[in-house]
């Protein structure tokens, strides 16, 4: 509903409009969320392909509305930010940018609000395509193209896998409606009992993991950092990468019973979490640091779904979107002012950019998980969940391992936040950066709103408001997360873990030289997934090139022999399996001397064709063959085919004459012996097969089994009023075939016209 509203504006070319649209949809989602309206989900349904059970249905349940709110609010802020951020380019480029941004926002809203799996897939793919356009905004730059391509390849591939998964679900249950699947336990049991349960789950996971950049598909996200910063903020921190998480959250009720659910999500999520946090610390590029830390949070949320702790999702997603969005915007401001993102070249910016500094501090402290920020509450809640989770309680050793990994990962994130603030804003001023100035209001205002939100929501944590909000919006309807800024002293576990995290984080930061050295050593040993992916892509291209240069070599003889060989094989196959030459009894009484004489002449003409030394001679001999065949039709009295044959022969002769002078001279001697044998063998085979086929057509069984001709003849006058059965077949019985044929003819004519015109104009 909202996406339709916005999609209509996609053609317009102004950023202001985008902001307005985003604000409007934000207001609308807010209106839907507040009051008693949240309880009854808003629905909108339109028949699309009723035969396939696919509908244009949208549904605003709390979880979807939460995402819609996130998308539209961050969208509005990013729109404001972009107005100042995007440099003065040609009007068209900026128009393209905003059009893509609006289209992305619309499709993203479509993803979270659609109630139909197929519709969800469609929107999902549109987000892939629009994000490709947005990432590739700097398409003059090589890395811009590479980053956009990688993102598109991976997310589109995952999307296709996901679609197969959806189709499996739809086929098994007979419905594509998400709400039906989620609510009906009968359908879920039916699905769980079927053999496609596990494959569907794995395929849908593939879609979610590629979109949310989980290991081993994580590398597209750092690569996509070539995008303009507002795009990174919007796509890679706040919304698009959350789509995979959204999908997993939606599928939890349907697939949560699977034995694969928890192990896969826990393993992949935890690995991505740890890897992301660890690698974030090694990066030197501001946005790459943020991208890696985003990976880590995405992994964390996946992992929480693996623990079936769905009640945590909104809390974690919300806190991450807010602080990471603020940090990305701050990174963009720093880049805007200094024209670099390399943390090694930055430093001491606090004096010149005080606003940016304080905003960065707010965001980073929230990421570090310090009180009184929103991030602190999220982390406390996470530790509380880890200590009390039911799934983890089954395996105590695993539980401890998980806790250790989580603490270590969060400690790395803590160190990363400090590295950001100290590296960029404090310390010695790098001499290479000059003329630094504070950014404009339009740039810092959106960041201030987001950064302020981390603080305000954190302070609101003193009341019940955040807890109620988080629980009511969660995908888990029975969510009862306890969220508070005040640590619960009767249950000191989370607080202790938080303190350990902070201590460890400070230790890592102080020892950063050692850690970074260790990391660079490790990186040289381990192959990255990125290089594996690049190599496999290269291999695919290599195979394609090899195949097409061998197969599509441009030699007409090769193509013709391929077609003929296939024909021979097909006929021989059907002769072996179905048809048989046994019951053919040729009647020699129909023979007459004229026919025999014509056949003799034909044989002579054909021999002349083969023996011809020049093309002209061959052309004349071929024409002679054609007219001799026409004479045979005279003897056997089929005037229609006779007419056609004569005219076709005339036309082909004219063609031959027209193109004769452009043909290369006869190349007869380049053929090797093996190739000649192949040509001779193939020719003989074609001749024999054609002979067998014609012979077969006189067989009585052939007539009986498939008597199409009789049917046409008997029905021609009655049904169509025409007495010429050939013509009636062309224009009436098989009129649609004829339409296809004449279309091909027109296309061929236009191709010849276009090709020759272009050739003449550019000599």
């Amino acid at each position: 509903m909202l996406s339709l509203l916005i999609g209509r504006h996609a053609g317009r070319r102004t950023g202001v409009l985008m902001v307005l649209a985003a604000t409007a949809s934000f207001g609308m989602t807010l209106w839907l969320t507040t009051g008693g309206r949240l309880a009854q989900s808003t629905c909108f349904k339109l028949e699309w392909l009723p035969e396939l059970g696919i509908h244009l249905s949208f549904r605003g349940d709390p979880f979807g509305l939460f995402f819609a709110m996130l998308i539209s609010s961050v969208g509005a802020l990013v729109g404001i930010y972009s107005l100042s951020y995007i440099p003065a380019l040609a009007n068209k480029r900026i128009g393209q940018y905003y059009a893509a941004l609006i289209a992305f926002m619309g499709s993203m809203l479509g993803v979270v609000l659609s109630d139909d799996l197929v519709l969800l897939f469609v929107f999902w793919e549109i987000t892939s395509i629009t994000s490709f356009l947005l990432i590739g905004f700097w398409y003059e730059r090589k890395d811009g193209i590479a980053g956009a391509m990688t993102a598109l390849q991976i997310t589109a591939l995952g999307g296709l896998a996901m679609m197969v998964g959806f189709v499996l679900v739809g086929v098994e249950t007979g419905t594509f409606s998400i709400s039906e699947l989620v609510q009906s336990t009968a359908l879920q049991q039916q699905l769980a009992a079927s053999s496609s349960y596990a494959p569907a789950l794995l395929l849908i996971f593939a879609g979610a993991f590629t979109k949310s950049a989980q290991w081993p598909f994580h590398f597209w996200l750092p690569r996509a950092m070539v995008a303009p910063t507002p795009v990174s903020t919007y796509l890679h921190a706040a919304t698009m990468v959350k789509a995979g998480i959204f999908l997993v959250g939606r599928m939890l009720p349907v697939f949560g019973g699977s034995v694969y659910w928890s192990p896969i999500l826990i393993a992949i999520g935890l690995l991505t979490f740890a890897l992301g946090a660890y690698q974030a610390f090694a990066e030197t590029d501001l946005k790459a640091i943020l991208a890696r830390s985003t990976l880590s949070t995405l992994g964390l949320i996946m992992f929480l779904y693996g623990l079936k702790a769905a009640d945590q999702d909104v809390l974690q997603i919300f806190s991450h979107a807010v602080y990471k969005g603020a940090l990305f915007l701050v990174a963009g401001m720093v880049e805007h002012a200094t024209h670099t993102r390399d943390i090694r070249q930055l430093g001491g910016l606090k004096r010149d950019m005080p606003i940016t500094f304080w905003l960065g501090v707010l965001g980073a402290l929230s990421m570090a998980g310090l009180p009184p920020f929103f991030g602190f509450m999220a982390k406390e809640s996470l530790y509380h969940e880890l200590l009390h989770n039911e799934v983890l309680h089954q395996w105590p050793i695993l539980a401890w391992a998980v806790i250790v990994v989580c603490v270590a990962g969060n400690a790395f994130l803590f160190a990363v936040s400090f590295k950001l603030i100290i590296g960029v804003f404090l310390g010695r001023r790098c001499s290479r950066i000059e003329h630094v100035h504070e950014v404009k209001l339009g740039l810092w205002m959106p960041a201030a709103i987001l950064a302020g939100a981390t603080l305000v929501v954190g302070l609101l944590g003193l009341t019940d408001l955040v807890e109620n909000l988080v629980n009511s919006l969660s995908s888990d309807a029975r969510a009862h997360v306890h969220v508070s800024l005040v640590p619960n002293l009767s249950d000191p576990g989370p607080l202790i873990l938080s303190l350990i995290t902070i201590g460890l984080g400070i230790a890592i930061y102080r020892r950063r030289a050692v850690v970074n050295h260790l990391q660079s050593d490790l990186n040289q040993i381990l192959p990255t997934m990125q290089s594996v992916w690049d190599r496999s892509l290269d291999a695919v291209i290599w195979i394609a090139v090899q195949f097409s240069s061998r197969w599509q070599c441009g030699s007409l003889r090769w193509y013709l022999s391929g077609v003929l060989a296939f024909f021979v094989g097909l006929v021989i196959y059907s002769l072996c399996t179905g048809l048989s030459l046994d019951d053919v009894n040729p009647k020699l009484s129909n023979l007459n001397w004229v026919g025999l004489a014509l056949c003799g002449l034909l044989a002579v003409a054909v021999m002349t064709v083969v023996q011809a030394k020049t093309r002209l001679a061959a052309a004349i001999a071929i024409t002679a063959t054609g007219f001799l065949v026409a004479l045979i039709f005279v003897i056997y009295r089929s005037p229609d085919i006779l007419l056609t044959q004569i005219l076709i022969e005339t036309v082909s002769t004219i063609f031959l004459l027209l193109i004769l002078f452009f043909m290369p001279s006869f190349a007869r001697d380049d053929a090797t012996l093996g190739r000649r044998l192949w040509h001779i063998g193939l020719s003989c085979a074609v001749g024999l097969v054609m002979f067998a086929l014609v012979f077969l057509s006189t067989s009585p069984s052939f007539w009986r089994s498939d008597n199409l001709a009789g049917a046409y003849l008997s029905r021609a006058v009655k049904d169509t009023g025409g007495h010429n059965a050939v013509n009636v077949v062309i224009v009436d019985f098989r009129a649609i075939d004829t339409t296809g044929e004449i279309t091909v003819l027109v296309v061929v004519g236009l191709c010849v016209y276009g090709l020759l015109q272009a050739r003449r104009e550019s000599p």
């Binding site: 030394k613 020049t614 093309r615 005037p639 229609d640 006779l642 007419l643 056609t644 005219l647 076709i648 005339t650 036309v651 004219i654 063609f655 027209l658 193109i659 002078f661 452009f662 043909m663 290369p664 001279s665 006869f666 169509t720 009023g721 025409g722 007495h723 010429n724 050939v726 013509n727 009636v728 062309i730 224009v731 009436d732 009129a735 649609i736 004829t738 339409t739 004449i742 279309t743 003819l745 027109v746 061929v748 004519g749 236009l750 010849v752 016209y753 020759l756 015109q757 050739r759 003449r760």
Partner: protein, 159 residues
């Protein structure tokens, strides 16, 4: 004069001398002057009688195109090149498709033909199947496409 042998066959793209000979041939011109209109007429007759007697759009179109080719050979491409022949083929395709669509709009299946029976002055009782319109499309497509290719190839040779 050395007789042409495979070795000194004209190289691709070279201007052949024979064309101007043909274009100057008064006999060919005379024949074409009479034969081309007659052939076009014959092609129309073949096309119109196609439903009941040998003929039809395809053959009629072929015959018309052959007549066009003779015209090209006799009088050169100067006049023919000014006309966009491909437009005829497009028009034919549209006519054929429209014929099918009309029956669709009338609530029948796509390409469902009917027969118009009416009496007209001079002709008496006329028996006219709508399939003729479809056949007209085929005629125009065949004629237009072949003429496009002929004219283009002839231009190529003359250039």
């Amino acid at each position: 004069m050395i007789p042409p042998s495979p070795k000194n066959f004209p190289a691709p793209g070279r201007q052949p001398e024979r064309r101007s000979d043909l274009e100057d041939s008064p006999i060919l011109r005379m024949v074409a002057w009479g034969a081309v209109p007659l052939s076009i007429l014959a092609s129309l007759v073949i096309f119109l009688q196609g439903h009941n007697l040998p003929g039809g759009g395809f053959i009629g179109g072929l015959l018309a195109a052959v007549a066009g080719a003779v015209y090209l050979l006799a009088f050169g491409t100067q006049r023919a090149r000014r006309f966009a022949w491909w437009k005829i083929s497009i028009a034919g395709l549209l006519i054929a498709l429209l014929t099918g669509t009309v029956s669709l709009l009338a609530g029948h299946a796509f390409m469902d033909h009917t027969i118009w029976e009416f009496s007209a002055p001079l002709l008496g009782s006329v028996h006219w199947p709508t399939a003729t319109f479809f056949d007209l499309g085929v005629y125009l497509v065949v004629f237009g496409t072949l003429m496009t290719i002929f004219v283009e190839l002839a231009l190529e040779e003359g250039s």
